[in-house]
């Protein structure tokens, strides 16, 4: 689960991480009221959306004039910000974070995540802050330091010293060194206790008056652990999530919207991905990832159809079910009932394989519904692409 920057900062502050004095507001009035309590030489007005790349997209404004803050907040609130992470549709700005600026002496990069190869938490640090770490990993990998933490003994003072030395902070005086080592220990404690899957401070800054401050913060929490962190779950912002995806999850469906025209309904995540890949290979574009799970009852199939059809781009549907424990004739029954009730108007190709696949196919063929049943995966993918591509495309191919 993603949280906003201001929420990440609030949660981190409870663990002793120092963040700039700031507040998230939803109106110009509130912005002006808040800024009147601040006294700084520079102010930041930052769009609060989950996607990254806000700065480059114009979602972060700086000003030295306190009286400008309200207008800057107004200029951002309510607009749709398009960053390289939001997709072309962008994300509406509902809140801005108003913060006191700080006098920056040095900017650093620091993050903490689980290294999948070792299964150990790892700090990633870089003496050049504020830049894209992925890009830096390609252009200057030597600048990046990785500090692995053995989960059985946890964070130890030597980890802090290693990070400090690699960032060159030992030359910045004893206060900075001490504050930094405390900060990394606190970050590790936060990460493990709150079941974060990623914490990124970019930039972490050393100020002119020797303070160590998280100027930006991005935290992602492990979805599997949210049940034991009600305080984290409380700050979930559903506005930032795709409506259809929220609706799908209510019915135990796993749905991710894409940009194509062929809706997919599949049991199992791996097979669902492979089905999308096959559609592409057959010359089509998948409209979504949709895993109906192991159950795939009539009810779930119906909900899945609803979700697929509410995407107006969908011109055809490919149902791909491998019946294992689930029997295909039951799923066929579910598809027929759902398709009849929903008046599905787009062509449907159903590929059934596994337990009682033949029976299932017979049921579908006798149903009188406008659908094509098959047992062969590749044939099914080609058929749905054929049925959804208009005559113009066919004539081009001919």
């Amino acid at each position: 689960m993603n949280v906003h920057e201001f929420q990440a900062k609030q949660l981190l502050a409870r663990y002793g991480v120092v963040v700039p004095k700031g507040k998230a507001v939803t109106s110009k009035d509130a912005a002006e009221k808040w800024v009147s309590q601040l006294d700084s030489s520079i102010y930041a007005v930052k769009a609060q959306i989950h996607a990254g790349g806000r700065g480059l997209a114009g979602g972060v404004k700086l000003t030295k004039k306190r009286e400008e803050v309200g207008a800057l907040a107004k200029s951002l609130l309510g607009i749709t910000l398009v960053t390289h992470q939001t997709g072309p549709q962008g994300q509406k700005i509902r809140r801005v974070l108003i913060e006191e600026g700080v006098a920056i002496k040095k900017e650093l990069y620091l993050s903490l995540l689980i290294d999948r190869r070792t299964g150990w938490p790892v700090f990633i640090s870089c003496p050049e802050g504020g830049m894209d770490i992925e890009e830096l990993a390609k252009t200057n990998p030597q600048a990046i330091h990785k500090e692995y933490i053995d989960p059985s003994s946890g964070f130890q003072p030597f980890h802090g010293r290693n990070l400090m030395l690699n960032l060159g902070l030992h030359v910045m005086g004893p206060q900075v060194a001490k504050l930094f080592r405390a900060l990394v220990g606190n970050l590790y404690r936060f990460f493990m206790e709150k079941d974060a899957s990623q914490v990124e401070i970019n930039p972490l800054v050393i100020t002119e008056d020797q303070e160590v401050i998280a100027l930006d913060a991005k935290v992602i929490f492990d979805d599997n652990a949210l049940a034991r962190h009600p305080d984290v779950l409380k700050v979930r912002d559903l506005h930032e999530e795709e409506k259809l995806e929220i609706e799908a999850s209510k019915h135990g469906l796993n749905y991710v919207k894409l940009d194509g025209t062929i809706g997919c309904m599949v049991n199992g995540a791996g097979l669902a991905m492979a089905t999308m890949d096959l559609i592409k290979l057959a010359g089509g574009e998948p409209a979504n990832f949709l895993d109906v799970g192991g159950g795939a009852s009539q009810e779930t199939v119906k909900e899945a159809f609803k979700i697929l059809l509410s995407d107006r781009k969908v011109k055809g549907i490919f149902v791909n079910i491998f019946g294992g424990i689930v029997r295909c004739e039951r799923i066929a029954g579910g598809i027929i009932a759902a398709a009849e009730e929903m008046h599905v108007r787009v062509p449907i190709v159903v590929r059934l394989q596994g337990t009682n696949a033949e029976q299932g196919r017979n049921l579908l063929n006798k149903s009188g519904l406008k659908l094509k049943a098959t047992t062969d995966l590749w044939e099914g993918a080609q058929a749905v692409v054929e049925l959804t591509s208009g005559p113009s495309k066919k004539s081009r191919a001919a």
Binding site: Q85, I114, R116, R117, G119, W120, P121, E134, A137, K138, D150, P151, S152, M192, D195, S197, Q198, D222, D223, N224, A225, A227, R228, N254, V256, L258, V266, N267, G268, A269, G270, L271, A272, M273, A274, M276, D277, L278, I279, K280, L281, P286, F289, D291, G294, F322, G323, G324, I325, Q353, G354, T355, D376, L377, W378, A381
Partner: protein, 294 residues
Amino acid sequence: MSILVNKSTKVVVQGITGKEGGFHAGQCREYGTQIVAGVTPGKGGKKADGVPVFDTMHEAVEETKADTSLIFVPAALCADAIYEAAAAGIKLIVCITEGIPVNDMVEVKRSLVGTGIRLIGPNCPGIITVGEAKIGIMPGFIHKRGRVGVISRSGTLTYEVVKQLTDEGLGQTTCVGIGGDPVGGMNFVDVLDLFEKDPKTEGVVMIGEIGGDAEVQAAEFIKKMMKKPVVAFIAGITAPPGRRMGHAGAIVTGGGETAAEKMKVLKSAGAHVLDNPAKIGACMTQVLSSIENS
């Protein structure tokens, strides 16, 4: 021969009195697996479909000499179940449960280092040695005893491949679902190594997906250590970066984690990499017959 499990494997089911645990314990038994015990704290002394139930793993192992455990307990209780199995002397732990917090698995994985205990999963269909033992939730009837080993991060996509290998007449030796979570037990390299050493396995199908670098490690191993042919498919060529595709571990967050990049390194390591998952069985037939004819 086969790898990891066979007809003498003795299995205790943790969470046997639950709906899933009870159903699948029955299915495994029907397949011929020796399900010797079940464990559910508080339900000791009862029987679940004829299988004795114990309160603790320690009792279950002592009474039945079980060497393998199959876990169906809810996600929040899984770390505890794995620790209990390890403490009781279980040598192979197969964890089916999906949704275990990653940090729990970080600590579990670390605790198993150096113990010789093997963990399969979590969030996986389990393991089957065809005709001998099914320790998981896969449909037994699609398998056929044969020549090919299968390793996969997925469930139904594995069944898809297994069915193709059966239809081709090749059959399988052992099929291992290593699971779709970011931190788990055995990885591709561990299982490839066992298949390379297994005299019955002539070739291996490997099913990977986006996220992590387990396939890249596998490619390094294939290049250096494997003589047997590997046919590979990586799911998710159409998956957008930064989006989680069903499995907790199926997300591209960094370099080298996309399907295209994984396919490329596997190809250069000498694996037969397919872009069409419907043709995996046919490809293996071709690969094995070209070896026979050479």
